[in-house]
């Protein structure tokens, strides 16, 4: 916080693009690592660990969607379906071929990437609203297909139970064990995204977002990069879906309906479009929101509503607050929580000598 930049002179572009912008950042990371690896899992109750686990999974999906929407400027209302593609691909492999998670996970991701790229094909010719509706169609068609093809969905219930993942005979069957498993993938996703955006590909994505015709004129193959963005983004979504499957122990298409696509879009809008940190903030915020609302309504709501009404009131309130927040952030603070965080940080950067 205090005078972190004093004495730091960057003389090369490489230094300016470094993952650790300042020497002190290494210490911040070290402290965060200590908190997340040692302190939190040892001190928190299983219930709170389960919330953290859900956040970790959401981080992976939100990062993926942000690559597509925030960095490349395309839009997808089909990410819920891409997740279900990953989830069912992995579940089928795990159950029918008895494959371990370190094979089913990338396989699920790749399958989702292939389907996602296919859904993204229209993005060459159409954009904006038309693309949104095309991906919406993708979502509905994938949902329908999974639901109606028993070979994929595993029968009438359209759900497949998967065994818990195990690592060299060490079965990940408690929240504490799953915590490390999911933390690993969340961190991997964050680092991978940060690095992707520093690369040639990431810069091409941003150029396509800012003005795709101009990008094409300076020699970026926009079709290739748009498809690549859809594929990478869907890969994240697929991995996210596989993680959900292993976390819940079941692949069920109802977990991946249109509402989920919108939840994830809400995450990146509330968190901040085109920002890695924003995706993380958004994932935390959107995961915590229903939990907080439920707790609050259970405490306060009993004064106004009967118990039988309370369930529908809670889900209604959640939806309404959710929509309200999306509108609020879009109208008032388009850069999301990430911008608020930057404001706080830049205030303290020169504090207490503001002038």
């Amino acid at each position: 916080m205090f005078h972190r930049e004093a004495g730091v002179f960057k003389t090369t572009y490489a230094a300016d693009m470094a993952l650790y912008p300042l020497p002190i950042a290494k210490w911040t990371i070290a402290v965060l690592a200590l908190i997340f690896i040692v302190i939190l899992p040892l001190t928190l109750h299983d219930y709170y660990l389960s919330i953290l686990n859900l956040i970790f999974i959401a981080v992976v999906g939100a990062l993926g969607l942000n690559i597509l929407v925030g960095y490349t400027g395309q839009i997808s209302l089909g990410h819920g379906a891409f997740m279900s593609v990953g989830a069912y691909a992995a579940a089928n492999l795990a159950v029918k071929l008895d494959l371990p998670f370190w094979l089913t996970l990338p396989a699920g991701g790749l399958m989702a990437a292939a389907i996602g790229a296919l859904v993204g094909v229209p993005s060459l010719r159409i954009k904006g609203l038309y693309l949104a509706i095309a991906t919406l169609a993708g979502q509905l068609i994938i949902e329908w297909t999974i639901n109606h093809v028993p070979a994929i969905s595993g029968g009438a219930q359209a759900s497949i139970e998967v065994p818990r993942p195990d690592l060299f005979g060490f079965v990940l069957n408690t929240q504490g064990r799953l915590y490390y498993f999911l933390l690993f993938f969340a961190v991997l996703a964050i680092v991978a995204t940060l690095n992707l955006m520093r690369s040639r590909i990431g810069r091409a994505f941003i150029a396509v977002r800012d003005q795709d015709i101009a990008a094409e004129i300076i020699g970026i193959d926009i079709f290739r990069y748009k498809l690549l963005s859809f594929a990478i983004s869907s890969f994240y979504a697929g991995v996210c879906g596989v993680l959900y499957t292993y976390y819940f122990g079941i692949a069920n298409y109802e977990q991946f309906q249109l509402g989920v696509s919108i939840d994830f879009l809400a995450m990146i809008i509330i968190g901040g479009l085109g920002s890695v940190l924003g995706s993380v903030f958004g994932a935390i915020f959107v995961t915590l929101l229903p939990i907080v609302i439920r707790t609050l309504m259970e405490q306060v709501g009993s004064f106004f509503f009967t118990d039988s009404e309370l369930a529908s009131v809670v889900s209604g309130t959640r939806l309404a607050v959710f929509g309200g927040l999306i509108i609020f952030f879009l109208v008032i603070e388009p850069e999301g929580l990430n911008r608020l965080w930057r404001n706080v940080r830049s205030y303290f950067r020169v504090w207490p000598f503001s002038y």
């Binding site: 010719r125 609203l129 038309y130 919406l136 015709i213 879009l265 209604g316």
Partner: protein, 301 residues
């Protein structure tokens, strides 16, 4: 007439009348897009809101005819006011922002409406009876529910009305000018913001009538908003900014749905009705990205 042909004609007529009812809702979408370039993902929720208010008003009155007239008036007033207010509070600040922002704002709006409705009105399904005869209308081999005929009639009247409005009336011409080029329209002394508000109010009118007709047919609860999802294939097919396109798109989607349900459902176990329109839409997007009657946009750097 052979049995097969009769079945086919019955499916066609049913599809055409349902299609007109789809285009009624699609019209609300097109009106907004045509004049303000904004996209309303909450169209289904508008319809739901209108239907709910209508059901509440009808339930208050004992006389069916008076109740229905009152319901139409109240719903129209509320929806027009809602359209104005919405434009003012949510959409005006988003002018000139990326299209994703507008899409997400209306999705957020849809979530708000969908969340608040069961809290305010309760979750049960309400009836919205209209004073029309119950006997099905028989046209050749087809029997149509009277409400579908009424819906189709309302749709035709509205289309005629809006076509006249855009072609002949002073306001309609001004609105077309705004849609064509906002800056030039402004330079000609047209109050652009007023016409934006007017467009949303017109969407309110269409949703009000659509909501009453659909609510009367399906019964009123939150599920009725799903009709909104049907709008997208319709408008994509016809072209987003064309009123005639909404009609043709609606008719095509209605017929495709009806035929798919009649001929394919027995083989795949149901659900093609919800699926076929989207498949058709993807094909259209591949080959005619701006729909059948849509205006091709030319982009400059």
């Amino acid at each position: 007439m052979s049995e097969d042909l009769g079945f086919f004609i019955a499916l066609m007529l049913n599809g055409l009348s349902i299609g007109l009812m789809y285009s009624l809702i699609a019209l609300g979408f097109v009106l907004v897009y045509k004049s303000t370039d904004a996209i309303n993902f909450a169209q289904g929720e508008f319809v739901m809101m209108a239907a709910l208010i209508g059901a509440v008003v009808v339930a208050f009155n004992t006389s069916p005819i008076l109740g229905a007239i009152l319901a139409v008036l109240v719903v129209l007033a509320v929806m027009i006011g809602f359209g104005f207010g919405l434009e003012r509070v949510v959409l005006r600040p988003l002018l000139g922002r990326p299209i994703v922002a507008v899409i997400m704002a209306t999705i957020g709006l849809a979530a708000v409406l969908r969340g608040l409705t069961p809290i305010i009105f309760g979750g049960e399904t309400r009836a919205l009876p209209l004073p029309i005869p119950d006997d099905p209308v028989v046209i050749g081999p087809a029997t149509l529910p009277p409400i579908q005929v009424l819906g189709a009639a309302v749709a035709i009247v509205l289309f005629a009305g809006f076509s006249w409005f855009f072609k002949k009336s002073r306001m309609g011409v001004a609105m077309r000018a705004v849609a064509d080029n906002q800056q030039v329209a402004q330079a000609m002394g047209i109050n652009v913001e007023r016409y934006f508000a007017l467009a949303w109010a017109m969407a309110g009118i269409v949703s009000a009538l659509g909501g009453i007709v659909w609510g009367s047919m399906l019964g009123v609860d939150v599920q009725i908003a799903v009709v909104g999802l049907k709008v997208f294939p319709v408008v994509i097919l016809g072209g987003l900014d064309s009123i005639g396109g909404a009609v043709v798109g609606g008719l095509i989607i209605g017929v495709v749905e009806s035929l798919a349900a009649g001929y394919l459902d027995p083989y795949v176990g149901g659900g093609t009705k919800d699926f076929a329109p989207y498949l058709l839409m993807i094909l259209v997007l591949m080959f005619r990205p701006y729909g059948i009657f849509g205006k091709r946009q030319i982009e400059r750097v």
